[in-house]
Symmetry: C2
Subunit: 338 residues, 2 copies
């Protein structure tokens, strides 16, 4: 049977209100008494009923997090940062895996508001739910922060990366190394790939490299299958080209696919083929050679979103914020100069 506050009081030989004072730390209690209560708490494995407290205080000290897939190389780090930041501020998190499905997002949001969460963080929300105004509506009732999924027409709190700037740094680095034959590798429809492609096209035009421009779409761009998919496509593409070649990939999974294609074809990386990825997922630094890539600030995205949410809770959800984090090229071993 679970211990209640009465059991603790009896064990520590104090009144129930003294136990309550020690637990809530809201009134001074003699050190000796405090230690006695704490020992009783430990011995009986007592924990106060947070639930009853929540109904009275009108806050639950819980936050809901929506994520398209927890089983991914990008999101766990974001969630880790959120969890840490919220925990040290006394919050627990509900984790919701939406399977990247728009109607699941809506179902989860309903369930979370039913559970009276104090706020919600949604990672990579579905474009349709953003565009339909769903998140804007939810955000009026309850503090809500979106990581990525930015839409300038929607009145919502956002934390996002400056992907365009990261893409430009990658292109400038390749040009500085003397590369002109720069291939751009992307996946099928995605706002994020579009941003990078625009930078690529503009950059090639600015530098009078339109003849060398080459865009390869590998289809599904964000699953483990992307690696093999990209490898198979790149084996054909690279067979028709003459080294030195440079490849700028929209993410590290594609970059790894390019790297594996080169291995299969006995093309030396970086001496014959230079490769840049994007995201800086863990894998990028443990393959051989280590990938040069653009850091997507995974931890910072989560940390900033959590801090923004706590501020919204404190300020009664009074303002709308946007934070754009700068991205940074991480130079490792997969590029060389000509």
């Amino acid at each position: 049977m679970k211990a209640n506050i009465r059991d603790v009081a009896r064990e520590a030989n104090v009144s129930m209100s003294t136990v309550s004072r020690v637990m809530n730390k809201n009134y001074p209690v003699k050190e000796e008494t405090k230690i006695r209560v704490e020992k009783a708490v430990e011995k009986l494995n007592f924990s106060p009923n947070t639930l009853a407290r929540s109904l009275i205080c009108q806050n639950t000290k819980t936050i809901g997090i929506l994520v398209p897939s927890i089983d991914n190389l990008f999101f766990p780090t974001v969630i880790k940062a959120i969890e840490y930041e919220l925990r040290i501020n006394g919050y627990s998190i509900y984790l919701c895996d939406t399977a990247d499905n728009a109607s699941e997002e809506i179902k989860y949001i309903r369930s979370l508001t039913g559970r009276q969460v104090d706020g919600i963080i949604v990672i990579d929300p579905k474009t349709e739910n953003m565009r339909s105004g769903f998140y804007e509506m939810v955000g009026k009732d309850i503090p809500l922060v979106s990581i990525n999924g930015y839409n300038k027409d929607i009145d919502c709190n956002f934390v996002l990366n400056d992907e365009a700037n990261g893409a430009r740094q990658a292109m400038e680095y390749l040009l500085k190394l003397g590369h002109e034959n720069i291939i751009f590798v992307r996946g099928k429809e995605s706002y994020s790939y579009d941003i990078k492609e625009n930078v690529y096209i503009k950059f090639m035009e600015e530098n009078k490299l339109t003849v060398q421009k080459k865009i390869i779409d590998v289809g599904e761009g964000n699953s483990y299958d992307t690696v093999d998919g990209t490898m198979n496509i790149m084996r054909k593409e690279l067979a028709n080209l003459k080294a030195p070649i440079a490849v700028f990939s929209c993410n590290d999974l594609m970059a790894l696919g390019v790297l594996n294609a080169c291995k299969k074809m006995n093309l030396d990386v970086p001496n014959e083929v230079s490769i840049i990825g994007f995201d800086n997922i863990c894998i990028s630094s443990i393959v051989e050679p280590k990938l040069t890539t653009v850091d997507q600030n995974m931890y910072l995205l989560g940390e900033n979103a959590a801090k923004m949410l706590l501020e919204l809770i404190d300020n009664n959800n009074q303002k709308v914020n946007r934070i754009k984090l700068s991205t940074k090229l991480i130079i490792r071993d997969s590029c060389s100069n000509i």
Copy 2:
């Protein structure tokens, strides 16, 4: 302002009890009325107060999950399985990242029982909390399942893998390929590495290969740094040996370190060095060559733990269960016969 049940009733032009019947699906309601209520619910973005219901029903439909680090290649898949299995049964999950710290585990468990969770799943619990009887005590008050962390002296519900059997399959496979110089690579103190080492030693003795026996401890065995750490150690070790060599590594991170060492030394994998990993983390199938490894059933561990927990909740925590899952060698491209 958030809509309440009164607003929904007014919008749908029905009584509040009709709204309640539609939401709880506990009394028949005319189809036409049901649709009207559902439209009102959607329009006003209404969600019923689960919290108040929880205090009345004595269950919260929430489960706590403790994990040493969510930012790891092993745990997200386990959590994904748990989340899915619990969600389809109407439960939400509290995610708790303990930073692999024993006192954080205890703090989290206290917080979860305070939040009146209906059950707890703890992944890779700290040995000291298992040994001290802490989890046994908690498990008497509340349904609790431990994934791994098995201790035969502790009366606790466990889901675990048959690691010894997986290790034996790996060794038998290498022997069948003709290997006799089989190196064993492990990390510092861990119950799991010990199990595999015992199998290795026994196997080498059984096959009269004690002269060839070689055990290498790479220290910290389960972080991304393990890859480079193992690589550096293996470069020295491999330099003194003559191919063909086989390496059985306690996990895929170490196996990747061995693979990278071979690349740096221009040793061909699998023709000069055969490598087997353990775990079957995503990375093992996207490096080149793809790693032969032992599947750790990450998804199945989570799924079985969730199902076991739901059964414990249904049966008032009446029995103590143990499930040991069989492991399986996954043959890919990193081993060859002599």
